[in-house]
Subunit: 400 residues, 2 copies
């Protein structure tokens, strides 16, 4: 059995390790701190920054295959590992493409895949003029500005409604604001032999109440023809990535493909993540083989498993509360033991499963865990999931 | 979150730990050796015999709740923990009943639950006369002789066809040999509040070929009325156990209830195991909440999850080969690295999952892992599972 190294200490690594025992696979993680969600369960943890060349080379020296559960890692260090003959999944070439949002957009354009019209905003000195020129060529405000590099979980993205909107002071691109009715996502798998598979298309559900828990409904509540088009587009994205990075054995790995469904029924690529994806957490309970199981199969050189959905499902992220307006000390009080109140009530609901990531500290809106509910119908799954999520409150022991 | 202690270092503990990460639960195991399947994944391992009072008390001193994944542990030490206020699940009173097969049989008789007629064979000096007298009162040969204590995986059980059959030299009971057509099993759950639930009834499938891999088909290939009767009988068994041990808070835990379906359609209790059961492994892939998830919920004081079957399934035990007739050095050669050949072929079949237990040494017929296949029908699941099992060969690296 191959020894696996994963760069990143978060929940994606943790859930991967939870599936690794059945293969007898040993996983070493590289994480900036310990304890951490993945480090708690890993065979060993190497402490270091995710961009630290030395730490990444050290990880490579003790494992057979190196992967990453977050995209902000050093491409150069991964390339160095590859040059030394180490297997890196997905390859450094794929990661280089994904880290640069402009390169991603160019790739979709070159492959003829639908994505929102966009312009690069370049040049340190001319950023505002360049921005206004780009906006004009896209047909005017509003636009979405995205940092070329480093964005994560909504960071590095701004909606600009007019020339007076505060914009990102960074190399970026602007996109025509898409008039979308829904965000869709598909998790795609591609193994070293080029076999691909896709999970059913899901939709993001945004809670209209104050909780700000984003949710994922599987399958998306759209006609089969829409789901099929989204799945085909997601597969085409990963194929295009693979073709562009063919010199490095193509795009091998688990990919989360985020898309927009527009008001006219078009589906546009938003972006691709080169790792297990929040929109695929439902697969743990609802599918024969979860996205984490598939990730391990790919890392171990085993065939892909089934992506069949056994039951409709809804996943809800359990996020830390916002600090504003809450009584007591700040929610992020370090060292305070975390309490997950209401688990009994949530888990008493039919077909509800919970995943707590083991993070030690609350930060506003930080993903602390998730829950998944199954149901005979998507509506039933949603009802159960929302009731379960409403029952749970995460707080520090001091913050009553 | 409660700290959990599990006595036993085998695969049942291992698969429990694999589900524990999502609850952030820390598990310490007591095992006679390390490395071992559960110890590999546990937070910590205490080395000691499963019957060692000191070791069990030490385990109790570092956790909030003590359980066991094997029934051959010291009841006296568990009772001592309970007296000291430690939670033990299932209670020592339940385990005492289960360890003594005669006490089990008396319990089913007293509760009016169907089980094969039986007689106790007592007295060191008069064992053969006592045995022959018992057989006569059961209506004659053949009979099944079972050691009162210590049997496991078919050990401690003999079929006696006549007075010349070699019998067990131990305190035992004899049962009229049941003319059964099938062995059925149901995994039953009971939490501290007395809530109970049962998984669907399964049947044991015995491979007619030489492989000697016992398998489990879920659901059993019998009419719904038979399944319902078996499930009701299994629940009644655990209720009876709970009533008999009510002074120790009843029967709390996961119970595997083995039954016979006779040629006349009767269902008879065979025996009960006070732990997750081989016949429940299919629940990992085929049910919303697996038997290991339920075990953790019970140990953590959380509500029971759903026992709903999402898909027909078949589980096949992957056992070590018999030594006889095999070329090369003995299969049990210690220190030899184990090879699991054919995994690629097995996992390329649709909806097949594998679980390798991480045992370091082959012994003839030892359970080294299992696989589960799902299918639209039980027949499809069976076809896939048998094809997958046929593809796998476990051997030592030296033993080609």
């Amino acid at each position: 059995v191959r020894k696996i190294g994963i760069i990143g200490g978060g929940q994606l690594g943790r859930m991967t390790i939870e599936e690794a025992g059945k293969y007898g696979a040993q996983i070493t993680v590289l994480a900036p701190e310990w304890p951490c969600p993945a480090g708690d369960l890993a065979e060993a943890t190497i402490l270091g920054k995710l961009t630290d060349r030395e730490a990444i080379l050290e990880l490579g020296s003790v494992v057979d295959v190196v992967s990453y559960e977050i995209e902000h890692v050093s491409v150069e260090a991964l390339r160095e590992l590859e040059t030394g003959g180490k297997l890196v999944v997905p390859s450094s070439a794929v990661l280089a493409l994904i880290q640069d949002k402009a390169a991603q957009k160019r790739l979709w354009d070159a492959a003829g895949l639908p994505t929102a019209a966009w312009r690069l905003v370049e040049g340190e000195e001319t950023r505002r003029p360049a921005l206004e020129e780009a906006v004009a060529s896209l047909g005017g405000w509003p636009v979405v500005q995205k940092a070329r590099r480093g964005g994560y979980d909504g960071q590095g993205v701004r909606v600009l409604t007019g020339p007076s909107s505060g914009f990102l002071e960074a190399a970026s691109l602007v996109e025509a604001k898409v008039d979308f009715t829904k965000e869709l996502a598909v998790v795609v798998l591609r193994d070293a032999l080029g076999h691909t598979a896709a999970y059913p298309c899901v939709e993001m559900v945004f809670d209209p109440r104050a909780r700000l828990c984003d949710s994922v409904l599987a399958p998306a509540d759209e006609p089969a023809s829409v789901l099929a088009r989204a799945e085909a587009l997601a597969l085409a994205c990963v194929d295009a990535l693979g073709a562009a990075a063919a010199g490095a054995a193509g795009a091998v790995g688990v990919f989360g493909v985020e898309m927009f469904l527009t008001s006219t029924g078009e589906i546009l690529i938003n972006e691709v993540a080169p790792r297990p994806h929040n929109s695929g957490h439902f697969t743990i309970e609802a599918c024969v083989s979860s996205q984490f199981d598939q990730y391990l199969r790919i890392l171990l050189g085993l065939p892909l498993g089934s992506t069949e959905l056994l039951s409709p499902a809804m996943m809800v992220n359990l996020v830390a509360p916002a600090e504003e307006g809450r009584p007591g000390p700040p929610a992020a009080a370090p060292g305070g033991e975390l309490m997950y109140e209401g688990l009994e009530k949530a888990l008493a609901l039919p077909s509800v499963a919970i995943h707590i990531y083991g993070k030690r500290e609350l930060r506003p809106f930080r993903k602390m865990g998730h829950l998944t509910a199954l149901g005979k119908t998507a509506a039933e799954a949603r009802e159960r999931a929302e009731a379960a999520a409403a029952a749970i409150r995460i707080r520090t022991a001091e913050n009553r």
